[in-house]
Symmetry: C2
Subunit: 374 residues, 2 copies
Amino acid sequence: MKFKVNSTEFEKVLSKVIPAVPTRTPMSVLENLAIEIKDSLMTISGSDLEIVLRASLQVEADSDISILTPAKLLYDVIKNLQDTALDITISDGFKLQIKTRNGEYSVAGLDHAQYPQIPDFPKEENNPFSIAIKGTELKNILEKTVYIISKEEVRAALRGVLFDFSQDGMRFVATDGHRLVNYLKRDLAFEDAAQYVVPEKALIILTKVLEDHEVKISFSGSFVSFVLPGIELIGRLITQKYPDYAGVIPLSNEMSLQLNTRELLNTVKRLLPFTSGNLRKIKLFLESDSMQVTAEDMDIGNSAKEMLPCSYSNDPMEIGFNATLLNDLLIHSVEYNELLFKINTPNKAVIIEPVDRKENQELMLLLMPIRLNN
Amino acid sequence: MKFKVNSTEFEKVLSKVIPAVPTRTPMSVLENLAIEIKDSLMTISGSDLEIVLRASLQVEADSDISILTPAKLLYDVIKNLQDTALDITISDGFKLQIKTRNGEYSVAGLDHAQYPQIPDFPKEENNPFSIAIKGTELKNILEKTVYIISKEEVRAALRGVLFDFSQDGMRFVATDGHRLVNYLKRDLAFEDAAQYVVPEKALIILTKVLEDHEVKISFSGSFVSFVLPGIELIGRLITQKYPDYAGVIPLSNEMSLQLNTRELLNTVKRLLPFTSGNLRKIKLFLESDSMQVTAEDMDIGNSAKEMLPCSYSNDPMEIGFNATLLNDLLIHSVEYNELLFKINTPNKAVIIEPVDRKENQELMLLLMPIRLNN
């Protein structure tokens, strides 16, 4: 069986699928790519059993075939070739023979039947839980949510981002127990409600292949599918029910503090090395239109304080945060010039929102303070 | 004691010294910077006992002082400040108080007396083994030599680059037993001969601070000094005698093979994944004006071959190399369009030289072939 393909086009398709291929896995057959050619359409899949990346390319083939080839070796050969025509022969012994003008590469493959059953997305029409979104917008939403997923979380449901369909629109929610993000995309609305939790890893891999093009997201049963031009990502969903996040969001935080995002970020960056322990406590002492931010490492005897302008008109108050978490949150919010902190008491959850709303999107962050014992 | 300094200037000096400060060391006092102010000249030193980096900066000081300060903390604070004036107070308790317009940072330091004795370079005038060289030229020489130093070498002398003073000029030599580089800088000549071995680590750190300026290199006793504008690196030398490298360089390699550096590099890159084991054997079959390069991984059954044009007019011959070593060597030689391989027999050392010589410099590489057993 023979087919012809251009090396640059082949490389482009391989580079899209490679991110799903595990590098060290006890199930070594997964280190292969599954290649199928049907009616001169070559479809290449890579998978770790949780996620599948699948991309297609038109080739000139003399018949159909299915085969497995070592992913890393094949990609290493193809990506180092200059743009050239490839003549590929697949023998009965699952051997791939790649010929260029000056070279010949023989790669031992495997029977396609050895590849495990990988997740497949049911092809239904008119799926009610299906949306189309610009790749750049989805990327922005993922950047604002995925970082909040805890690496140490034991509850399976919290190891992903909740995609929450409702009449209000589509919400993207992530939490690690200390903070929560709730991103509402308002220009969508669904008659029926539904909740799906997409695991962190699928979203991280998705981020790598997202570009400025439309993405179609569909949910069905226990799978999600992201369809991009020329490539599809299918992921197994987390089936555990997501906790009732709406119930933990306080509605009566009446004290408000408005500040410049980048100014506070720079202060937190400078004070971070002065915090200590796991708590990494940083204190904000709020006064009329200014605040003092302090940190100290009492064991060593280092300390730091800075004054920052802000807009605050309630009684003076002291509130503490974990500087690492606050730093993270600010880094992911720098596209908003000003932030509004809505505070209740120094021991209750603080709500953080951008001052300038963007059309059709609402971002709400929640951050738990650290109890101050002085 | 008080002094004033600009944060950007302070940061620049700190960034030059930080590379010498060890991050994890049982001798934790070395994680500090030694700061000395004398007649308003601040000198900052960082050291791991083998290497010292020392930089100076004019400040406005009301008296002299010596103190140790935690390197990482101080650098983290200063580098995150925007360009601003700093008022620094050092108290009797070795406490550094840094004041800006909006902030105040208190850093616990240590008595300067706790710092160990660090290498110092004797200030001699008219040192005969002293040269001046452009920073960019030295960087280029180090890039061509340091990579050849073996990480696993047990002979201390081979864990550095030999600086060899002679009437011919100054030679820079490195070897790992399988390959050798001999770089001769001809526009220098010395009446007396001398050999000094500078350890790899000093050269790697030096590379980080080299820019486009003159460097003064001096040797004295068991130390080397590299003086750059505003910064000095002092390193302890390797005192073991360097082996007689000249004796291993063959003089009677009469077969010559000329080829395009980048073409061979690209071929080796493509064939590297097909090599196996520790030997990573790649074979060159030389014929009249062309060569066939092959690799195979017999355990798995992968193989590859390529044809390359070359200039060769001797009897056909087969010679093998370690593809990783050859790849490394070619990567570091791409500034030369064409290379000349001087060959004796397939089992003897091959000499590799650039075809186009540059003025006042001679580069000679030696690579041991791998024995072919077919």
